[in-house]
């Protein structure tokens, strides 16, 4: 079941790749893997999906295991460079091409796919300045140690320097098994302690959910607004709720990230060069657009925003589009 006209080995089929994610679960991962599957199916490739569940050591083991398994290529999704550089090199040494998403392995042979966390944060924070002005008391939900969050939070800090009127009155946050509920409890304490707070930056949608819950419970939805990152069907519904404080979010489509990663890897396997850096542009989604266009799910968002649905990155004629 190969693809006629495709370069080897895709003309014969039977290609097996491994996709190894740092994350353990969640909507983002689900969508990413769905994208991987779609593109892999279109290419007639068998994709072996595995997850390190936030355990960087486990991610090393999984890469090692993929090498043992003798796959034709490896996608590394997130993770930390120090821990992965040498195993990625080991894969290259074994003749297995590697692409990395959102983790800088600093290796000329490894194409980097990026969704640009900085761009996402900038998009949504610029929207905040546009709507709330250059002077407000803001807060951010943040827990360090998670690379994408670190990058997004850094942008928030920069905004604080750029606009002296923006004051960070509180940072809080927690990552555990029940993020929304725990963040909600914290947020309520913060709201009580800081009545002047008017903008909350949430670099992760789980945080945004918790903050929204707290704002709703405290009944201050008209005073405090949420500017977030990431999107999913349930995020869309949360934003669409009447009087929802969550007014804007910036996101890339994780499914597209998955598709692009597989395409880039396929090119490498076929001996072609997808380029060293593959960038996927984020989209700003506001509450207003969702309501105006009557968008209720991710699928509907994709229909209305083609840029969200697909990316031209790493496309080639011989690579069939995913269905």
């Amino acid at each position: 079941e190969g693809i006629a006209g495709a370069p080897a080995p895709f003309d014969k089929g039977g290609v097996k790749i491994a996709v190894i994610s740092f994350l353990g679960s969640g909507d983002w991962l689900q969508a990413f893997e769905a994208g991987v599957k779609r593109q892999a199916d279109a290419l007639g490739v068998e994709a072996n999906l595995s997850q390190a569940r936030n355990d960087i050591n486990a991610q090393r083991e999984l890469i090692q295991q993929a090498i043992n398994l003798g796959v034709k290529g490896i996608v590394i999704n997130n993770g930390q460079p120090e821990a992965l550089k040498d195993v990625a090199q080991a894969a290259l040494d074994a003749g297995i091409p590697v692409v990395a998403y959102d983790v800088n392995l600093d290796n000329a042979k490894i194409p980097q796919i990026e969704q640009s966390d900085a761009d996402m944060a900038r998009l949504v924070l610029e929207q905040a300045v546009k709507e709330q002005g250059e002077t407000f008391d803001g807060g951010a939900v943040y827990v360090s140690g998670f690379a994408p969050l670190d990058r997004r939070y850094a942008v928030w800090k920069d905004f604080g320097k750029k606009y002296p009127g923006i004051k960070e009155v509180a940072t809080w946050g927690v990552v555990n098994d029940s993020v929304p509920a725990s963040v909600a409890d914290q947020t309520k304490a913060v709201l009580a302690a800081n009545p002047t707070l008017s903008v909350v930056f949430t670099p992760w949608d789980e945080f945004a959910r918790g903050v929204k819950l707290a704002i709703d419970e405290a009944g201050v939805a008209d005073k405090v607004k949420i500017y977030g990152v990431d999107i999913s069907t349930s995020d869309i519904q949360a934003m669409r709720e009447p009087n929802s404080p969550w007014v804007a979010t910036a996101a890339t489509n994780p499914a597209v990230v998955g598709e692009v990663s597989v395409r880039a890897l396929a090119q490498l396997i076929a001996g072609q060069d997808p380029g060293h850096s593959v960038l996927i542009q984020p989209t700003l989604v506001t509450k207003q657009t969702l309501v105006d266009n009557d968008i209720k799910t991710i699928e509907e968002l994709q229909e209305k925003f083609p840029a969200f649905k697909d990316s031209d990155a790493a496309k080639k004629d011989w690579i069939p589009a995913s269905k």
Binding site: S25, D177, P180, Q186, A192
Partner: protein, 338 residues
């Protein structure tokens, strides 16, 4: 008959004893006053109720843990039972389109059933408590994700078979987690109160409660005294499972979606609450009042620190320090020589 055992009147309790007994209450009061003076908003009733609301789930799970503990067992599965209940409640409403009451019934039954399975593994098959509930914990952590293929559950979600889920959260269901009595007292706090009172009554004021403790103290002795110890231990797990699923229901109705999680942090917090409870009133054993107070204790600490804008990583540290301090005080003062 014995010529020693003099007066059956209690000896006047020493200062150390009293200190030990009320150490945690005093500490709690000190904390309240401290936070209040540092941040006046701390003491307003809305904030106090949100503390109680924040601890309600942990307290309810902790009560279950302390019941199994008093019967000499240990339920490691409460966290994942709660997490599974969140998923089950969401699945029932969003996919199966059940209403609030059907959902409540279904999920509580599920919790009781999981407790029953734990109990049967332990008393029938003879698997040690920790092992059996650990297995259940892993089992549920995976099982809860299978119906949706690992996705979290929200209205309008795409199902594995390609169709879109037609149902949604019943607004009546959301009231459980989000509503307030007289616009003041959140329902979860009321549920916690009812659970605490019933459980306290069961454990401290009924024959059954005494037997739970007797089994924990010496199972053979309780058996020889005529107690159907296996049935009791089974019931302890059924109660614990049911309470855990009640906790899960509150989380679900608060969050309004079926979130993927293993519930491990709920487990640790619930265990912490019931362990801190050991020190309350110097009982040195699991008990309901202590568990609830233990949960509140930690809740006050976290709320206050958040208000003072302490970095998140100091919170665990302070939690640890206060724990060690409270324990050293309680146990150190009452050091018994062997």
């Amino acid at each position: 008959m014995t010529d020693h055992a003099t007066a059956s009147s209690k000896p006047a309790s020493t200062f150390a004893e009293t200190a030990r007994k009320y150490a945690l209450f005093v500490l709690l009061a000190v904390m309240l006053v401290g936070f209040w003076s540092a941040q006046p908003a701390f003491i307003n009733s809305a904030n106090l109720f949100s503390i109680l609301q924040a601890v309600s789930v942990v307290a309810i799970l902790g009560v279950g843990v302390s019941i199994t503990m008093s019967a000499g067992g240990f339920d490691l599965s409460v966290g994942s039972v709660a997490a599974s209940s969140v998923m089950a409640a969401s699945y029932a409403m969003v996919v199966l389109q059940m209403n609030a009451f059907e959902t409540l019934g279904l999920v509580l039954l599920m919790g009781a059933f999981i407790g029953l399975v734990n109990g049967l593994l332990i008393v029938r098959v003879g698997v040690p408590d920790l092992l059996a509930t650990l297995s259940t914990m892993f089992l549920l952590a995976g099982l809860q994700l299978i119906p949706t293929g690992g996705r979290s559950i929200t209205a309008g979600m795409m199902l594995p078979n390609g169709t879109t889920a037609a149902g949604a959260y019943d607004p009546a269901f959301l009231v459980l987690g989000r509503g307030r009595l007289f616009d003041t007292v959140p329902y979860p706090v009321i549920v916690m109160g009812i659970v605490a009172i019933l459980a306290w009554f069961l454990m401290e004021r009924t024959r059954w409660g005494r037997v739970f403790y007797a089994i924990g103290g010496n199972e053979t002795a309780a058996h020889l005294a005529g107690a159907p110890t296996k049935a009791y231990r089974l019931w302890a797990y059924v109660l614990s499972g049911t309470l855990a699923s009640l906790g899960g229901l509150i989380v679900a109705s608060r969050v309004g979606r079926g979130d993927v999680s293993a519930g491990n942090s709920l487990l640790l917090d619930a265990v912490a609450a019931s362990l801190i409870g050991f020190a309350v009133l110097d009982k040195r054993r699991p008990h309901v009042l202590g568990t609830v107070l233990g949960a509140i204790f930690v809740g006050v600490l976290l709320n206050g620190l958040t208000m003072l804008n302490a970095p998140y990583y100091t919170q665990d540290f302070v939690k640890g320090v206060v724990l060690v301090g409270a324990l050293a005080l309680t146990f150190g003062l009452g050091k018994k020589k062997r």
